[in-house]
Structure formats: C-alpha cells, structure tokens
C-alpha cells in the first residue's frame, strides 16, 4: 500500500491518503496540485514535512517509472531506441538483454516503426509513447504518468491502458482530464486546492461529482 500522512509540500496538504495496488486516477482542476502530488509519489520531490511511503519505504528507495506532462522534458537521448534502452543501461543490464527487452517493449506499445527515428522528429503523441515505453521497460514497482493520454487518440489511449493493465505493475498512478479513462481504473483521487476532496472507487467518487463537468459524459448519456 502507498500511504501519505501529514504530507506538506508547496500547495499540497494531505493528512491521510491510502492507495491500494492497482490503477489510480488523479483528477481535478488545473493548479489543484495533481502534478505536485505525482512528483511526490515518484520521489522527484521530497515532502517538506510528513511522509509518503510505498510498501513502507520512500519512493526514492523503490523502482519508479515516470512520464512527464511536458513530452519534451522526458527526452534525454537522440533516438527512440536509445531513449527506451537508457533505464536498462543505467542499471548495467547486459547488451543482449537490453536489445531483447527494448524490442519487446516497442512491439507491445506499437512503436517498432520509430526505432531509429530521431526524437526531435517525432510527433507529440509519439514522444509520449516512447517515454511510456522507457518507463515500462524496466518493470517498475510504481508507474507514475502525468496526463500521457492527452496526447493520444482514443483508440491508442485505450490500447495503452490495456497494456498497462496487463503489465501487472503493482501501482499505476496517472493524472488525467479524461473522466472516461478514470472510470476504467480501480480508484480515483479528486484533488482541489492541494487537498484530497474525494478518494475511493470510481463509482463513489463520481457519484460525489454528479452534476459537475467532471462527471463522465458516457454515464450522463446512458439515460
């Protein structure tokens, strides 16, 4: 379980939050602290006070995959292959293993055609797919994704969600503005002004958001 207690960092003020294994969607208005919370969960930021723990250890002491909301800020290397291989190379994995795992990962995400393409020539969505592959390739304990889906077409976003589900990564926490995507996860956290306003299953959280723009359109259209 991921736990946050008396967590304070910039605008974030969360007294008690528990995240069960599975896929958790973080939603809320712009500026509500979604990205800041994700950075804390990924260990990119460290709390000013309070604790955040993944199975009892700080995020920096566990394996975390991260995809930034700014696609260009994910890029360190020149080609898609180099980018996806980098987490394995930083871990000194054998070259043959790197070749195999990167190939399989690119195939799984559907980007084998990007293998030698320069990163700077990729579209926004393609950059996100490469970043996602780089985050998946080393099979992290925690996968933190900041609005990766806003750069993907509907079909591709659903396919990627299926791949993530199948990957069996213990904790997937993704920020999204797509209520339909949040509905398909295991739990939802609704942030407002740096605080958790609602947390729970999609059914309970969206029941609390009925009548707001955050309520899934597909549920409104079921009538």
């Amino acid at each position: 379980m991921i736990t946050a207690e008396r967590l304070r960092y910039r605008t974030i003020a969360i007294d008690n939050l528990r995240i069960e294994p599975g896929i958790t969607s973080v939603i809320g208005p712009n500026g509500s602290g979604k990205t800041t919370l994700l950075k804390l969960l990924a260990g990119i930021a460290v709390p000013e006070s309070g604790t955040i723990l993944v199975n009892g250890v700080p995020p920096r002491n566990t394996e975390v995959g991260w995809v930034n909301e700014f696609p260009d800020r994910n890029i360190l290397f020149g080609s898609a292959f180099e980018e996806i291989a980098s987490p394995l190379r930083f871990r000194h994995s054998p070259c043959a293993e790197i070749e195999d795992r990167v190939g399989l990962c690119m195939q799984s995400v559907g980007i084998t055609n990007l293998r030698t393409r320069p990163m700077q020539d990729l579209s926004g969505g393609e950059k996100v797919l490469v970043a996602l592959a780089a985050a998946l390739v080393f099979r992290p304990q925690v996968l933190v994704l900041d609005e990766y889906d806003s750069h993907l077409d509907g079909n591709r976003a659903r396919e990627i969600a299926r791949i993530i589900r199948k990957s069996r990564i213990p904790y997937v926490i993704h920020c999204t503005q797509d209520a339909e995507a949040a509905v398909s996860g295991d739990s939802v956290i609704f942030l407002e002004d740096g605080k958790v306003r609602y947390a729970g299953t999609p059914g309970t959280v969206f029941a609390s958001l009925a009548g707001t723009v955050y309520y899934p359109l597909s549920w409104r259209c079921r009538a």
Binding site: F70, L129, E180, T212, V213, L217, C221
Partner: protein
C-alpha cells in the same frame, strides 16, 4: 474567406501527407491517429511548413494564428506580464481570463501545463484572427476550461477555425469533420451526416449512433439531447 489545398504533398523523411480540399468559414475538426500528420498539416496551413508539390491558396485572409500543441513553444516573456505584452494584449484582463490574476511576476515556464495552456490561449483569443489553427487546444485543460474554450470558439462570429484534436468529450459545435489516415486528408463532410463515417468518432458518439440516436452535432449539449431523446 477560405483556404484551398490542391494536390498538396508534404514530406518528412520517409513519411508523406497528401491533402486536397477547401476550408471555408466556420469550425473544422481534424482527427487522426498519433503520428498521422495532424501537426504537420496544422503547420502547413499556417504557412510554417513547406509542401513539396501542390498549392495552398488563402483567400480573404489577412491574419493567421496557430496555437502549437506544446504551449511552452510559444513562451518568450520572462514573466506573465511581459508574456502578455509580447502578444500585444493588456495583461490584467487576459490574466483574469486565464484565472491567473495576481501572478504577473511568475515565470510562465513554472506554471502547471494546464495553466500555461490557459495563458497562451487567453493571449491568443484576446485578438481576432481570420484563420485560427489550434493544435490540440484541449490537452492539459481541466473540464471546466475545456467547456469554456468550447464556448469561446463557438462564439467566433467570423473567420475559419481549424481544430486538430484527440479530445473525446468536450468539443464545440462544428461545421465540418476531416480525418487523416494512411497519409491522406479526407473530408468527411458537414454535420450531422459526417458522423456516420467518422472513424475517429468518440465512443459516446459511436454508441449513440449505434442506438439510432444521431446527434445534431458533437457538443455536450447535443450529445445529451440525443441520449435523452425518446
């Protein structure tokens, strides 16, 4: 006022896009898969990407504006006030419209991505443009802001608006749908007849059509009207 593409072909490495058709006054929506060429076409329509063959004719268009997919590419000012001034707009009302009142001295690149998107769109939409090209304008915006943008775009009384987007839920009423697939731009036609052969239609639209409830358009109000129709 119109933009006409005749036999246009654009090339990037071993990838190419062919485009033919006329974008008249009103709101156009262009959809397509990741990497299909939406951003390339957006740049081409704005005159920022060269075609290797064919012609792009702009008739009656005095001003063109393009919103890039990545709002950070637009930033030139060191703080919000000077960013607004760089766009030639009055900072106070524009920052108010973007929900950023009181933050004039902040660095635009320290804003959240949603806030930065709001800022750039507010600067852009504070002035009128004959040809307005928006590449993924809804990405990173929260649901409230997406609806607000839909209202603003629907309120444009004149000019050509071309929206390139993956957005599935919050869309304005539009006049025409286009799709890019297999390296080719296709005109799906006017609403609502275009909905029946719109491959990238949101799941909600496809479900409504499957139930025989064809919406008049694709705004939330239109979809709810169709869903509740007896």
């Amino acid at each position: 006022m119109k933009v006409s593409l005749a036999g246009v072909r654009a090339v990037r490495g071993d990838w190419s896009l062919s485009a033919e058709g006329t974008f008249g006054e009103g709101i156009h929506l262009v959809s397509g898969d990741v990497g299909s060429g939406k951003s390339t076409l957006a740049l081409l329509l704005a005159g920022l990407f060269p075609q290797i063959s064919g012609t792009v004719e702009r008739e009656g268009i005095a001003t063109t504006m393009i919103a890039f997919q990545f709002p950070e590419f637009h930033v030139t000012g060191p703080d919000l006030e000077r960013e607004c001034m760089a766009w030639g707009v009055d900072p106070a009302p524009v920052l108010a419209a973007a929900g950023l009142t009181g933050r004039m001295e902040e660095d635009p690149l320290n804003l959240s991505r949603g806030e930065l998107k709001r800022l750039i769109l507010a600067c852009m939409l504070a002035r009128d443009h004959d040809l307005l090209i928006l590449d993924e304008p809804f990405s990173s915006l929260d649901c409230t802001e997406k609806e607000r943008l839909c209202t603003t775009l629907s309120g444009r009384k004149r000019g050509i608006t071309i929206i390139f987007t993956h957005e599935q839920t919050h869309l304005p009423r539009i006049n025409r749908i286009w799709e890019i697939a297999g390296g080719m731009l296709s005109d799906r036609g006017q609403l609502p007849s275009a909905l029946g052969h719109w491959d990238h239609a949101p799941a909600v639209v496809k479900n409504l059509i499957a139930r025989g409830k064809i919406p008049a358009n694709i705004s939330q109000a239109d979809l709810l009207e169709a869903a509740c129709r007896t």
